[in-house]
């Protein structure tokens, strides 16, 4: 199994990244329907936080992939590896009380919202103390106490749901904003356009985030969408869109902040297109024969979000490579502890088969 090791690679052979320099505040302004400028120039503690959060997602998903290969996890399992900058950058931009909803590639979104990795892994293992008591599995995880609303398996269906969450936020006259994620494949679902229309018509507080990882299952974006600039797919509803380097967590955070401010300020929905990449197949059963190994390798080497932040940390002298190796070991140990804790949970209780179909007592 290919396991990415971004931390253990020398930094001197990295290709130059054109966008590492700190740009002026003015140049960070979102460009109307254009490409978001990137800037990793953030205080060291911020970059360290981003790095640690992304690495936790990476190591957790790698371990989940191994558990799947060992037969401990069944069914569909969609890993987030490669896309970490999106979840982490957006989470840093989002307030804890801003609701978040996504599709079936949801493990990482659960964890960045604050769910314990062992509850996520326990769910994958079909355990009683998995987050959904073993009834949801990989695709159906919810944490309403932390304002995470799933975990939805029908491509695109979560987009009207997120729009309804935003409807409720406005109905309640709150200043919260719903962040609604979907993939590049989902954007062609009719109900996504229906949701865009209502969100714009009713000026709802919502930020739509399309995680464009370049392939809807095995279909490249330009084979599925009449225009490949997905951030423009809201234009006919008057929804402003931005293209963002989704492999740059700081660019994601800045674009997210701008979009959230826009929506929070009563200016209605925005659409952020995160140009990202998944290193693994669509799901664990996908050998990803529709793209070359070289393509994947090139992204890993040139755009990996964790390596990019690590490089900046090392190059700027914040930490040395040895310190990052220690961080990696700590995170691997944290993930192993979570796996061990999850494996020790009792199996989902057969008596629970018939509960939670309706509210208790109804």
């Amino acid at each position: 199994m290919a396991v990415s090791k971004p931390m253990e690679r020398g930094t001197e052979d990295l290709p130059a990244l054109p966008n590492l320099e700190v740009r002026s505040a003015a140049s960070r302004e979102p460009k109307p329907n254009g490409r978001e400028r990137t800037a990793l120039g953030q205080p060291p503690e911020v970059l360290l936080d981003i790095h640690r959060r992304m690495l936790l997602l990476r190591r957790m998903e790698e371990r989940i992939g191994q558990l799947y290969a060992m037969g401990e996890i069944g069914g569909f399992c969609h890993l987030y590896i490669g896309q970490e900058a999106v979840a982490v950058g957006m989470e840093r931009a989002t307030r804890p009380d801003d609701p978040v909803i996504t599709a079936y590639r949801c493990h990482a979104h659960m964890v960045v919202r604050g769910a314990a990795p062992e509850q996520v892994i326990g769910e994958l293992l079909g355990k009683a103390r998995g987050v959904s008591q073993g009834k949801g599995g990989s695709m159906h995880m919810f944490d309403p106490a932390r304002n995470f609303y799933g975990g939805h398996g029908i491509v695109g269906a979560q987009v009207p749901l997120g729009t309804g969450i935003a409807f409720a936020l406005k109905y309640r006259k709150t200043d919260r904003v719903c962040v609604t994620y979907f993939g590049d494949g989902a954007i062609s679902q009719g109900q996504v356009a229906e949701a865009f229309n209502m969100a714009a018509l009713w000026n709802l507080p919502i930020v739509y985030v399309v995680e464009n990882n370049q392939y809807g299952m095995g279909t490249a974006v330009d084979r599925a969408s009449a225009i490949s600039e997905l951030h423009r797919r809201g234009e006919s509803f008057g929804i402003p869109g931005r293209e963002v380097d989704g492999m740059d967590p700081v660019a994601v955070e800045q674009a997210g902040q701008a979009a959230l401010e826009h929506a929070r300020g009563g200016q209605g929905p925005m659409l952020l297109e995160m140009k990202t990449y998944r290193y693994r197949g669509h799901s664990m059963s996908d050998p990803a024969l529709y793209r070359s190994r070289e393509e994947v390798q090139k992204v890993r080497e040139e755009r990996d979000p964790i390596a990019r932040v690590a490089d900046v940390l090392v190059q700027s002298g914040v930490v040395d490579a040895d310190r990052l190796k220690v961080v990696d070991r700590e995170i691997r140990a944290q993930v192993m502890e979570a796996v061990t804790a999850a494996q020790a949970m009792p199996d989902a209780n057969p008596a629970e088969l018939l509960s939670d179909i309706y509210a208790a007592g109804s």
Partner: protein, 327 residues
Amino acid sequence: MREISVREAIRDAMAEEMRRDESVFLMGEEVAEYEGAYKVSQGLLKEFGPERVVDTPITEAGFAGVGVGAAMMGLRPIVEFMTWNFAMQAIDQIVNSAAKTRYMSGGLLGLPIVFRGPNGVASQVAAQHSQDYGAWYAHVPGLKVVAPFDAADAKGLLTAAIRDPDPVVFLEHELLYGESGQVPDGEHVAELGRARVVRPGRDVTLVSWSRGVSLVLDAAAELAEQGIDAEVIDLRSLRPLDRATLLGSVQRTHRIVSVEEGWPSCGVGAEIVATVVAEAFDALDAPPQRVSGADVPMPYAAHLEALALPLSETVVRVAHEVCYTDG
């Protein structure tokens, strides 16, 4: 008690619940300014304003999903479909999102939402606008499915549906909106999941729901003249199914005929017959029978349409069959 139409009873239930609980709101096509395509929401926009009586675009999948999302946040949406025929665009949100979320989340996230609108056969509107969806939704765990017949139940059951913590599919009948009946004054809440014996009888059980109850009552009156004392059950709720009331009736009458507008195959009647055969076989004196809509898409021409509908004459004939008597 006062006499009002089914249409007014539904409106009153919504209005009273909206007054009582500000998390209740109504959304759908033409519900606000037009006051409902079938004039069910008369006066609601004026009383509650456009934030709580929301006209939607023609976008069933989208606004059904918006309703479900709003329910995730604890609002209590009433989502009106102009007719249930159009809800086919939205059935994914009803079945995959609304019905399953409580279960998939291990009980963390419940969805208090009502989907309502006219269902069943209408007059000469042909195949795409004239059909019964009762069996479709009654199949789905996680939904409650209600189909009232008279004005009192329309009000009482809709009130209960709005207060219920789970998704309720509320199947009204276009041809019943104008029917009037006595409705209790003040708050009136019926219990979901309970059938009602409308007419007690000894010789045969006739069970139906929604507009079918009217056919069955006509048939029972005719049967009475012919010396057969039929018991009439208004099922009211298709899920959960009130098996106890059905089985109790069959224990008394030993015969049962179910009557529905929908298609026979895998219909609600099939479930009723299976229940009775499996759980009250020894009480039966005749094979249970079903009267249903014909197994065809609804035709347009009036005389063809009449051939596709269940009729009270058919119910009388089949009742005689199970009683081994001559009509």
